[in-house]
């Protein structure tokens, strides 16, 4: 007996083949000029973190020691640090205006990469979208690292490796060159939300999750940064400002200012979770009224005495 294919089968197969060749409709274009919003973590991102503030960071003892022995004068006194850029991960804390654009292959009209340019240190990064693999572990590391992206619906997930040693917070908490940096970009209208995850086997016991927001600013003109080395704070050649272990006199300031138990300011995974609030409930004595960084939502109002 001769069996015939249902009539709809060939048409259905043709339709599937046609759909497979179409670009994914869920992909978004992030192209544009983006200005950072600072309603999240404003004091840390703008004027900078206070010494000894390791809250929100799932750090280990090694990271804590690096922070405790850190002297911020290092950035001025050591010439090599003056123009050291933020790493590709720290840059996405919104510490400068951002431009994103696409690279499209002319022959296939397929998306090859997204590119980013940040004001700070004129940093540029390529996010490869063509499925290429990351280089081997021993490949050179750079300030911006090596990034690849994949679509998850209309969210872009970016994985960055090969980042040079840098920092997670600008009070001495380091980020190693073994870290993997993951970002989730979501565009909703004229807003870009970036959720970031740092996994660092050297300094973190758990992933560090943060988020930042940007808004589309077509009138933005980033300009040139152009860092220049100069004798900012002259000290004898070879000086590297630091505090010997156990000798930093400033580590209790943060706890005292905000009425926190000292141990709570030392970071660590336990301190990230709601249960920790119950643990320190009897030891937390906040000031009667706000005295520091009381208002901090933008560049123009985030100062120590802003009210």
């Amino acid at each position: 007996m001769t069996r015939h294919l249902p009539r709809w089968r060939p048409a259905y197969s043709l339709l599937l083949a046609a759909l497979a060749s179409l670009p994914a409709f869920a992909q978004l274009d992030f192209t544009g000029e983006w200005a950072p919003l600072y309603h999240e973590d404003g004091p840390e991102r703008l004027p900078g973190p206070e010494l000894g503030d390791y809250t929100e960071l799932p750090i280990n003892a090694a990271a804590r020691m690096a922070g405790d022995t850190y002297d911020a004068d290092r950035i001025s006194v050591v010439p090599e640090y003056q123009c050291r850029p933020h790493g590709g991960d720290y840059s996405m804390r919104g510490l400068g205006n951002l431009r994103i654009w696409r690279e499209i292959d002319q022959a296939s009209e397929k998306l090859v990469a997204f590119h980013t340019h940040l004001l700070a240190w004129d940093s540029e990064r390529t996010v490869w979208m063509d499925g290429r693999p990351h280089p081997p572990d021993w490949a050179p590391h750079t300030w911006q690292g090596f990034s690849t992206g994949v679509w998850e619906g209309n969210m872009l997930t970016i994985t960055t490796t090969h980042l040079k040693t840098n920092y997670m917070r600008r009070n001495g908490i380091p980020r190693s060159d073994k870290a993997v940096f993951t970002e989730h970009w979501t565009r909703h209208g004229d807003y870009l939300t970036v959720v970031t995850v740092i996994e660092d086997p050297v300094y973190l016991t758990e992933p560090l999750v943060r988020s930042d927001n940007w808004f589309l600013d077509p009138g933005q003109n980033i300009g040139v940064f152009g860092c220049e080395y100069a004798p900012e704070v002259p000290r004898p050649e070879g000086t590297v400002p630091n505090h010997l272990s156990g000798r930093n006199p400033f580590l209790h300031e943060f706890a005292n200012w905000y009425g926190l138990p000292y141990e709570a300011t030392r970071g660590g995974a336990e301190t990230l979770y709601p249960e920790y609030q119950k643990k320190i409930a009897n030891e937390y004595h906040p000031p009667d009224h706000c005295e520091r960084y009381c208002k901090c939502t933008s560049l123009f109002d985030c100062n120590l005495n802003s009210k």
Partner: protein
């Protein structure tokens, strides 16, 4: 030619033809242009933590001779020869804004010259041996030139 601004202010005249309002169009253009200019002014890169570098809740004042003006990124610096609280002459390193920030405030490379006598106020650095200050204000009494603001 119809442009973005014109699209929303076209009216029909009595004959049913499109009529444009030049004055409203000009006003709308100026508003959009002003917004674009203002939006380009918000730039920040937060180089290092000021709280980690300075005693932000303290203020010092020095008066002396400017010996160097570094107008640059990431931060401009002025170096001033002035006595410390013990009367010993020191060279103070006063951290100022980035070149971009200062230019928006009307400060240029030519605003200050070595030899100018200046009065500086600001937050002292955490290491007293550095004789370091984060600028809050600078005044040149000879002609009243001054700057006051927040270094970012």
């Amino acid at each position: 030619m119809q442009d973005f601004a014109g699209r929303y202010i076209m009216k029909l005249n009595r004959k049913g033809n499109v009529k444009r309002n030049p004055m409203k169009r000009t006003l709308l253009f100026l508003v959009v242009a002003a917004a674009s200019v203002l939006s380009t002014q918000v730039k920040v890169y937060a180089h290092h933590s000021f709280a980690a570098t300075y005693f932000e809740d303290q203020e010092v004042k020095i008066e002396g001779k400017l010996v160097q003006f570094l107008y640059r990124n990431p931060h401009s610096f002025v170096h001033v020869e002035a006595p410390d609280d013990k009367g010993m002459m020191q060279t103070w390193a006063v951290e100022w804004g980035a070149g971009g920030q200062l230019s928006r405030d009307g400060v240029t490379r030519e605003s200050l010259k070595p030899g100018d006598m200046v009065v500086v106020t600001g937050n002292p650095g955490r290491n007293p041996d550095d004789h370091r200050i984060r600028m809050r204000s600078i005044t040149r009494p000879s002609d009243g030139w001054n700057w006051k603001g927040v270094v970012q």
